[in-house]
Symmetry: C2
Subunit: 362 residues, 2 copies
């Protein structure tokens, strides 16, 4: 672990050199975790070509020493992490031009740089650490696979308990309970449990709607293990499926299978998206697939790369991405089938193992 | 509801006048929800002295019309909400000086204002809407009380099921399941379930630690109802309490009771904090109460005001605040008892109804 983190810091230093900055202040907690292993919620990190300085508050005094150890010089600040940074600045030599994370710094805190941080010249930076995070190593892939196992085991338990007459909130409760029992540390995002016509809403969460026999039931949820996330969707029918439900389901299932087996590192994001979209369009449902095919995941449930119509960037080797085609018909319902796929150099490797056949539950 | 929202927009307009700005761009989703009722996760709001303009994406086409209705002119943007704002700008008259929410705008988006938003002069603003939100009306207090009932009913169910040999994650699962069954829409924050020595960690979350007979068990969690949050902590003993556990518990219980019955609107944040802190100090545990007494809650689980040693601002009339004294001893464990209290003009009103006696469970 210590070696891996040192290698990551070394790779970031190459990034600093290329960006012509002497140091970088990090305010993104997932970026800080990636570089140092710290899992708490209060941190400022300063990485220079020579040192790594970690600033946190008294609540994490024990934890930061356990997790970060001697990778960084640790400062515990009583008042504000920023005060710690300015105090630290007074003792640093050879640091003049300092980057900050433009996508992870609020304007309010940016103003601190201009008022209290005048010792340094500031340069906004984008994606210096995110670019490193895109390509997962074998240990990271194993953790995402484990988070996927927690998710799919929780789903298997949940599907056995679903009955007509339960609300979506009841089902969310059963699912979250099962995910906890399987070892999920937290939930990467609030579970979507959407039944009947609500399955057509792309961002439905869970409601008090009571599930009826014959409903489509869409479950989109994730688990977290040692910080790494999974993100899975399955759609089932409560009771017996109609022929129309089967027809739509089979199109989405085929789109999922084509995309998950054909997606490759090096492909443009828009070409990956097209793998599923072209097939759904051919079947006449192009307008009903209103979101993009997928996104990267790792320490965050949405990270680089993006698999979408407008994205010309190629998918990085080693990325883990979701493949989540769907068809949504307002008033009728919707179907989405989502898996997590590792883009290994040798080809795609599906990390979420759960049947993609249409299940009739209850 | 429509009238209440219109009154809120009118109050914000008084704030614009006082700040010498013609309009405000809002990027904080809780602030947008407070003003418009919108519960989705994609929104830009522009409030001028004459109009309210709401920009969201296609996913919320139906929802925004249901929730916001004719309070605002609605634009659905395909690409970026910011593009929608610049297009809108071209048609607005009499708007020159525009505020933005400094505490809710990332530097990356701030740069958009300077590159694409040059039609307007920009002025950073702090707390224009947050200040309105601090004082809750009767309907808001009722929603927080309801979120408190969901939380305490969920807790009552959970305590009946706890047994030695369960992990903290198991207990979190039982608790979250019960909260869902009672109607919690989401979880305002990840539940803290901390047992034995882990109860001494101020930010423990839930772990795979197995609960043993004789452990203190601290549960800090919340529920959400129609957007409004509750935040409750109880500490129990699994099995029979020792005399030392009882002694510490009674000090915290008394500190909670003193503070919850004596806190008043108009009191400085530091004086409110002192209500509990003084008593804990007198009993010799001042160093073991390492965090502040409480915080406001409403649409967010942490909002204005703050009840802390360094805060000279008075608590607003109508605010709802947590009262959460604690004593933590590294290696031994900790006790915290937290309630939500409405600071009515007539005095404090406790919204979370659950025994504060020491419970021995299992």
């Amino acid at each position: 672990m210590a070696d891996r983190r040192s290698a990551r810091v070394a790779a970031l230093r190459d990034g600093l050199t290329a960006a012509h900055i002497d140091a970088l202040v990090l305010t993104s907690l997932p970026n800080v975790r990636y570089l140092t292993g710290f899992s708490g919620t209060s941190a400022l990190l300063l990485v220079t070509q020579r040192d790594v300085h970690f600033i946190t508050d008294f609540r994490y005094d024990t934890q930061v020493r356990d997790e970060v150890g001697d990778l960084a010089t640790i400062r515990i600040e009583q008042q504000s992490l920023w005060t710690g940074l300015w105090n630290l600045g007074a003792s640093l030599e050879g640091v003049e031009i300092v980057g900050f994370e433009s996508a992870h710094l609020l304007h309010r805190d940016f103003q601190r740089l201009l008022t209290d941080g005048t010792r340094w010249q500031w340069r906004p930076q984008l994606n210096l650490v995110e670019a490193l995070r895109e390509s997962k190593d074998a240990d990271e892939v194993a953790l995402i696979r484990r988070a996927g196992e927690i998710a799919t085991r929780g789903l298997a338990k949940t599907l056995k308990e679903i009955r007509p007459g339960m609300s979506e909130l009841n089902v969310a409760g059963i699912l979250e309970h099962a995910l906890r029992d399987e070892g999920s540390e937290e939930f990467p995002f609030p579970a979507i449990v959407a039944s009947g016509p609500r399955a057509a809403l792309p961002h439905a969460r869970a409601s008090s709607r009571v599930i009826e026999r014959g409903d489509l039931l869409l479950l989109d949820f994730g688990a977290q293990y040692k910080g790494y996330c999974s993100d899975v969707t399955r759609t089932v029918v409560v009771g017996r499926a109609s022929s129309e439900q089967r027809e739509i389901y089979d199109i989405v299932k085929h789109a999922n299978a084509v995309a998950a087996s054909s997606v490759r590192a090096g492909m443009k994001g828009q070409d990956a998206d097209g793998l599923a979209r072209r097939y759904i369009e051919e079947r006449g449902y192009g307008d009903a697939f209103g979101h993009s095919l997928g996104h990267g995941l790792g320490l965050e449930v949405h990270e680089a790369p993006r698999l979408a119509k407008t994205v010309e960037t190629p998918l990085g080797t080693g990325a883990v991405v979701t493949i989540e085609p769907g068809i949504y018909r307002p008033g009728w319902g919707g179907v989405r089938i989502e898996d997590d796929v590792h883009l290994a150099a040798s080809g795609p490797e599906i990390l979420t193992d759960f049947t993609r056949e249409l299940l009739e539950v209850a």
